[in-house]
Amino acid sequence: MTTTHTVMPYDEALERFEPVLGLETHVEMGTTTKMFCGCSTTFGAPPNTHVCPVCLALPGSLPVANDKAIESTIRIGLALNCTIAEWCRFARKNYFYPDMPKNYQISQYDEPLCTNGYLDVEVGGKTVRIEIERVHLEEDTGKSTHVGGATGRIHGADYSIVDYNRAGIPLVEIVTKPIPGTDRLAPEVAKAYVTELRELLRTLGVSDVRMEEGSLRCDVNVSLMPRGSSEWGTRTETKNVNSLRSVERAVRGEIERQAAILADGGRIVQETRHFHEDTGATTSGRSKEEAQDYRYFPEPDLLPIAPSPEWVAELKSELPELPTARRRRLQAEWGVSDLDMAAMHNADAIDLVEATVAAGVPAADARKWWMGELARRANESGTPLADLAITPEQIARVVELVSSGALNDKLARQVLEGVLAGEGSPDEVVEKRGLRIVSDEGELSSIIDQVLASNADAADKVRSGKIAAVGALVGGVMKASRGKADAGRARELILEKLGVSE
């Protein structure tokens, strides 16, 4: 943690260098059982309770591959436009580490299940095609906790404890090819890719893709080359970047750091780096200059995976509508612009708008509420839009109340505020807070009389033909009614009372 590097401001870095990206994503499959045994994969169980002879690597135990995980991997491969191997094998990746019970990981090496695909992502209104190198299946390790010491890492710790509940959970690794040409959009492209991938995986129903629980983990590779050069620079790999925002920050931070070193005549060390959520900076980890020898060889305890072309074709035909196609369809149905659609996408609002439309709200209203008032509130409280304590049905009810004239927009906002604050359903909030529009003409008329009496100047101006001055009077009425008056009707009545017609 002593590595405080000078950084070059982003704009300057991009003037002098071109970044090349690469992303490796690990996704825990949402299968009910582990990759090679029958243990549960449920998150959050007491440590070492979801274990058995196989995932603890007791002597004599043997793995049996989880067919559902293989199927899910093939579906991911198909959704990413990959070629599916007709025959491939698991391989053992050998290295010693206490959280890996067998001291080898069953993974795939030179025979991945899926290869050569792509994923299109939208950044700044243009489509960027991210090429996929491979998608393969492996098993997760246990989880080490290093107690004592300053860094929380194994070096300097007093002791370490290991939870093997995670050991053996199916893990899919999705590796991109190097991504050149993103230029100054590199951080956004990286983020857009992970966002799009996450959405795709969610649509496939293969994982709960929770970055904060580690079910989707991202390693970000960055290298820089001087402008005009065609030879790529040395890359670093920033490990376990665990939020979408962090993906963007990690790329940006690494560009700024590497640029400073290179501009100074320095050399980039090929290494893994740790991302720090608090500062957005990365610090040096394990050097990869001398590649560790994992002594890969085909796993002799398992049979090769040989998915028949017929089965693969069947899986392909059964894929759900994928996010890009769905967005195109929804955009057409809702009749919104590219820009508005992109804004909804970036705000993670598409599912919410769709559900609200399904609850009977016109698309324009649904979009208006989610992207306006609700987005503002989510932003204020720092919660994802989807985590707001309000349902599409509740929004539908508010919209219904507005269109029936029972609420105006201002009151509707107060109703939403009440619902979000846990005060009950929209109707309950209206009731409790007394938010119904003043539609009683008598009451409205008496409010207007008071306002006219105390604003004689303005009233005179209107009488003398300066109709624009009516705004102040309407404002007064709204204020006096604490927003509950129907502003349009109040205006009509004021003009009527003052004997003016437009």
């Binding site: 002879p53 603890l56 690597a57 053992r92 206490p98 019970p101 002594r295």
Partner: protein, 496 residues
């Protein structure tokens, strides 16, 4: 006749008919173990109490009118490389001293289901690596024919237990000959089933693509009965074959070779083979011919490369399989004094827990798999493996079974080859091809070598899933020899 001299089939019948109880049979064998095992050292652990309990349960089931299987109540010695939840399981290694697994191997579970009475766990070369049982961390087992000689290995405890009448049956595992070679040098029957024909679940792995559980017995029919009892598909072992167990018992009962084509492997014989072994082998071939078999010589040129290929593949897999023994979760842990890192504790544990032969093979395998050497070593060895399988395939177009001596020499003196790994490895010269190709192969006694009066084994190899042919030919040879000898070869063994 003493109960310990009877065959497993006879004991099973006596128990089923109620003429003797399983408890009597078990007690007789436990007495025999107490009498001779201090000299033989076949057992690492004797489970007298649980054996008697199992025997009582068989007797109770019979008393309740339940029909018993052919081996119910019959005692068995179990190689200490199979996990047993009620007994320690060491694999002959210090690194697992005192380890009690929480689960039974599939083979163990099936022995129990068949009503077999497990007397205890037998000695072996550490992690089944060796041909003499001298590599056990718990001292060598001795050959009942000559206590100064090795009983073969790695399943030497199991071969010695059966040859010294401590048990009528025992289990073994065969990775490069670890059942057939011990059977040959102790004058008993040992069978390596087709790879995948018997489950490896709970068998502490040496080389995953080669390890095969199989039976030992004093005659072919008993071996077939045991083979049938624990073999067959197992969902816990992905490499286990989804096929019916070949009709091994029927084949052992049939025991004829009339019209069968027998191939003599040309490459096995000559230099390095003891004359007495070659002589007994030739007599066995003549015998087969006299019984109506059609004998031809068959060339399997790739078999010459089997030994070097094996000593790349098996150590490679072992180097990975044995990585789990690191002192973190079970077994020995050395150096954990609060000052050392996990990495240091792992290294100290492995340095202290593994014997020299295991370390040698871990190093060999680590080297063979390392980047830059993989293609030259592991990769080439896998190609040889393919060639050997093709040689077998071609041979079985011409003949129904192949025969050879099981091992080039009779039992050698303890200590003779202990410092010469290459000489030790040669003991498996003839047995390794069947492991590399996954074929079935059996060793049956074919007489005593004239030089030393020690047993010689005849190896009979059959195609994948042709296990029944091994038993059919083996039973025919056994019957003809016993007619000639006036009884089993083992009656020539000195009484202990």
């Amino acid at each position: 006749m003493s109960l310990t001299r009877k065959t497993a089939a006879e004991l099973g019948a006596l128990i089923a008919s109620g003429e003797v109880s399983a408890v009597e049979v078990t007690q007789a064998h436990l007495d025999r173990v107490a009498e001779v095992d201090p000299r033989v050292n076949a057992f690492l652990h004797v489970a007298a109490e649980s054996a008697l309990e199992q025997a009582r349960s068989v007797d109770a089931r019979r008393a309740a009118g339940e029909e018993l299987g052919p081996l119910a109540g019959v005692p068995i010695a179990h190689k200490d490389v199979f996990t047993t939840k009620d007994m320690p399981t060491t694999a002959g290694s210090k690194i697992l001293e005192g380890y009690r697994p929480p689960y039974d191997a599939t083979v163990t579970a099936r022995l129990r289901e068949a009503g077999l009475v497990i007397l205890g766990k037998t000695n072996l070369d550490e992690f089944a690596m060796g041909s003499s049982t001298e590599n056990s961390a718990y001292g060598p087992t001795r050959n009942p024919w000559d206590l100064d000689r090795i009983p073969g290995g790695s399943s030497g405890g199991s071969s010695a237990a059966v040859a010294s009448y401590q048990a009528p049956l025992s289990t073994g595992t065969d990775t490069g000959g670890s059942i057939r070679q011990p059977a040959a040098v102790t004058g008993i029957v040992g069978m390596k089933p087709t790879y995948g024909g018997s489950s490896r679940y709970g068998l502490i792995a040496f080389a995953s693509s080669l390890d095969t559980p199989g039976p030992f017995a004093r005659n072919v029919l008993d071996a077939a009965l045991l083979h049938e009892a624990f073999s067959g598909h197992d969902v816990m072992d992905s490499t286990s074959i989804h096929e019916e167990v070949p009709p091994v018992v029927e084949a052992a009962r049939r025991g004829d070779v009339a019209g069968l084509r027998v191939g003599v492997v040309k490459e096995f014989g000559g230099e390095g083979y003891q004359p007495g072994v070659i002589n007994r082998f030739r007599e066995a071939v003549d015998l087969l011919e006299s019984l109506g078999a059609k004998v031809v010589e068959v060339s399997c040129p790739s078999f010459t490369y089997a030994l070097p290929a094996y000593y790349l593949i098996a150590p490679s897999e072992a180097s990975s399989n044995l990585a789990r023994f690191d002192g973190m979760r079970y077994g020995l842990r050395v150096g954990d004094d609060g000052t050392r890192s996990a990495e240091e504790v792992m290294a100290l544990t492995r340095a202290a827990g593994f014997g020299p032969e295991v370390k040698r093979r871990i190093m060999l395998g680590t080297y063979a798999l390392s980047s830059g050497y993989y293609d030259a070593y592991y990769g080439s060895a896998q190609k040889v493996r393919t060639l050997i399988a093709r040689d077998f395939e071609a041979a079985f177009h011409q003949v129904d079974v192949l025969v050879s001596p099981t091992t080039p020499t009779t039992a050698f003196p303890i200590g003779e080859r202990a410092d010469d790994p290459m000489a030790m490895y040669l003991a498996d010269l003839c047995t390794i091809p069947a492991n590399l190709a996954g074929n079935a192969a059996i060793s049956v006694p074919c007489g005593l070598a004239e030089e030393d009066g020690l047993p010689v084994g005849l190896q009979i190899m059959a195609p994948v899933l042709g296990d029944d042919r091994c038993y059919r030919v083996g039973a025919a040879v056994e019957k003809a020899f016993e007619d000639r000898w006036g009884g089993p070869l083992l009656k020539e063994a000195p009484s202990l």
